[in-house]
């Protein structure tokens, strides 16, 4: 992919490909975990998730290049902004169609995705931009050249994904989220405000997409259509990993990152990224619950 070449990964030996793939997978993991979390608790497939990422990446470019503010400020501000956007989306749209058939939430988020893309084009224009100056340079790992921006984004993405997992497993809030996703009625009988848990989950998921966007900005070429390229990969990740399974999503993200990089190396950029979708279709047909999925019933 043009994105990959820009990041300066030189494609030769297998270790290079593997490391490049795993680093790419980190960002997919963060994005897919947010998507998965939202699906688990709300039973909503958020087609606009990728566009939140794109808007976050474009905002980061604006903050760093346009307003000349430091990058770390964007790392703090943009995810918060995206979480607030998530709160708005939940309050204005998703909460009102909670009890409607699933087709309504699918249509609503699909429409929302179109709106976000086109508003982004209105604000930032349709062209590519990026942050070439931030986190430049490269380091050697196991003999492979790895760009610093990739490494930092991988470490942050996996770190936050694992932190959210810890949050879900070991805190009071996490227990509330898990019970609201497994048995909403019992949860509300036990005194959990399911409505507020859903709001918090959607905000958290959107914030994770926002952080993924910030991390993507120094490493990839950014444009308003970025979201539609990423969302399909995030879908592939959560389907291969198993819908609703958090560790499955992280594992599948790393796997698919490798598949994409290796596929692009051998079959060319466009067909290479199609491998992901084919893998996803294959898993959908052969094992719809995914590698580690518990078999969520829809």
């Amino acid at each position: 992919m043009a994105d990959l070449q820009r990041a300066g990964i030189c494609f030769m030996p297998l270790t290079d490909l593997l490391i490049g793939g795993i680093l790419l997978g980190g960002v997919y993991a963060l994005m897919a975990c947010g998507l998965n979390l939202i699906f688990g608790v709300m039973r909503v497939i958020n087609f606009a998730h990728g566009d939140i990422l794109a808007v976050a990446a474009l905002s980061t470019v604006s903050i760093v290049v346009g307003f000349k503010l430091p990058f770390w400020l964007a790392v703090v501000l943009v995810p918060i902004g995206c979480a607030l956007l998530g709160v708005l989306i939940h309050l204005l749209i998703l909460r009102r169609i909670e009890n409607a058939p699933m087709i309504m939430s699918l249509l609503a988020t699909y429409a929302l995705s179109t709106i976000l893309v086109n508003v982004a084009i209105l604000i930032w224009g349709g062209g590519y931009s990026g942050l070439p100056g931030v986190l430049g340079g490269s380091v050697k790992i196991l003999g492979a050249n790895v760009s610093v921006s990739r490494l930092v984004s991988f470490v942050c993405a996996i770190g936050v994904s694992l932190a959210v997992w810890w949050l879900l497993q070991f805190t009071r809030f996490g227990r509330a989220v898990r019970s609201a996703s497994q048995a909403p009625e019992l949860a509300s009988i036990s005194g959990i405000a399911v409505d507020r848990v859903r709001l918090a989950t959607f905000a958290l998921g959107s914030g994770m997409a926002g952080l993924a966007g910030v991390l993507v900005a120094p490493a990839f070429a950014i444009d308003p259509q970025l979201g539609s390229r990423f969302i399909i990969k995030a879908f592939a990740v959560i389907i291969v990993g198993g819908m609703g399974s958090y560790p499955g999503a992280i594992l599948a993200a790393l796997l698919l990152g490798v598949v994409e990089v290796v596929g692009s190396y051998f079959a060319g950029a466009v067909i290479g990224s199609a491998f992901l979708f084919l893998l996803m279709l294959g898993v959908l047909l052969v094992r719809p619950r995914g590698l580690l999925g518990a078999g969520v019933r829809i």
Binding site: I93, I103, A111, N118, I232
Partner: protein
């Protein structure tokens, strides 16, 4: 109060469609071709999305298959455009049959994601195999001198789709499809062959879009992957069905006319916000008129009661999950 008969409405629409090329300007013919193409897409989507209740985000895949099969035949072998359209329709049916068999094993959001992904895969292939498809450069076809024959073909297909939907709405077959939408397991247990019917509805909803894909590329005189697999075609189609009323006879007609006019006005005056506003229309329809505009007519008593979405009491989210 006297109720409107769908057949009467169709007759009026047909007469109006017949008058356009006789009385209207070239612009009117051109606009009507677009409207009718979307009308056909909307009625096709209504079969699988409205009646059978499967959220189908991949209809544009068949539109694109038809566009490419047709344009490649015209481009490489100089086939005349109506034969190419027939071939495109057949290509739609031939690809839809195995795809339907595979994809319809998926339910709800899985089917939506799968079909959404499929359209993107096909777009990637159309870009990637540029030896055959010319990739991103696109295929240029000889523009038609006279759009009227094209217009009549599209109008006839639209009329056929409307009549088919009317027949379906008044048949046991239609009721069986609605039963699948309302509760697939219950339908299965009543002895309805759900798999066969779903695949049938899926194939039926793919044939006409494939033909329209070919006619659209002839109409434009050009096709490239982003045009053939455009997600805004998908969104506009769904918006029309949703706005008019999913799973109704008159809904897609109403939605297509209203939205085509709105789109034309927006496109002429505010091209930069056109797509975003289609999205806003879908959102507003989801929030405020999920049963579509025809529901207003049903409440007012001048339309026979149909079976738009949510006829049964709404299930709480907790049970449906």
């Amino acid at each position: 109060m006297k109720q409107l008969d769908p057949l009467g409405v169709f007759a009026i629409a047909l007469v109006a469609a017949g008058l356009v090329p006789l009385l209207g300007s070239d612009y009117a013919v051109s606009f009507s071709i677009q409207l009718l193409i979307f009308l056909v897409l909307a009625y096709s989507w209504n079969l699988i999305g409205g009646y059978t209740g499967y959220t189908h985000f991949g209809q544009v895949a068949f539109f694109g298959i038809g566009a490419y099969v047709g344009s490649l035949l015209i481009f490489h072998w100089n086939v005349s455009w109506y034969l190419a359209t027939l071939a495109a329709a057949m290509a739609g049916a031939i690809t839809a049959l195995p795809l339907g068999g595979a994809m319809l094993r998926l339910k709800g959001p899985f089917f939506a994601i799968g079909m959404f992904g499929l359209a993107r895969v096909l777009e990637a292939f159309a870009l990637g195999f540029d030896g055959i498809t010319q990739g991103g450069t696109g295929i240029y076809l000889k523009p038609l001198n006279d759009l009227k024959p094209l217009y009549y073909v599209v109008a006839v297909v639209a009329a056929v789709m409307m009549l088919l939907t009317w027949r379906l709405d008044n048949s046991r077959l239609g009721l069986k499809l609605l039963a699948i939408r309302e509760d697939e397991n219950a339908a299965e247990s009543l002895g309805i062959p759900t798999t066969r019917l779903k695949i049938g509805a899926f194939v039926a909803s793919a044939v006409a879009p494939a033909a329209m894909g070919c006619l659209y590329s002839v109409y434009l005189g050009f096709i490239d992957p982003p045009t053939a697999f455009a997600s805004n075609i998908e969104l506009t189609t769904i918006a029309m069905v949703l706005l008019g009323g999913m799973g109704t006879v008159l809904g897609p007609l109403l939605g297509a006319i209203v939205l085509s006019v709105v789109n034309e006005v927006l496109w002429a005056n505010y091209p930069q916000i056109y797509l975003a506003s289609v999205g806003v229309i879908v959102l507003l329809a989801v929030l405020f008129t999920p049963r579509g505009l025809v529901n207003i007519g049903m409440k007012g008593g001048w339309l026979a009661l149909g079976r738009p979405l949510f006829r049964r009491p709404v299930q709480p989210a907790s049970q449906s999950s």
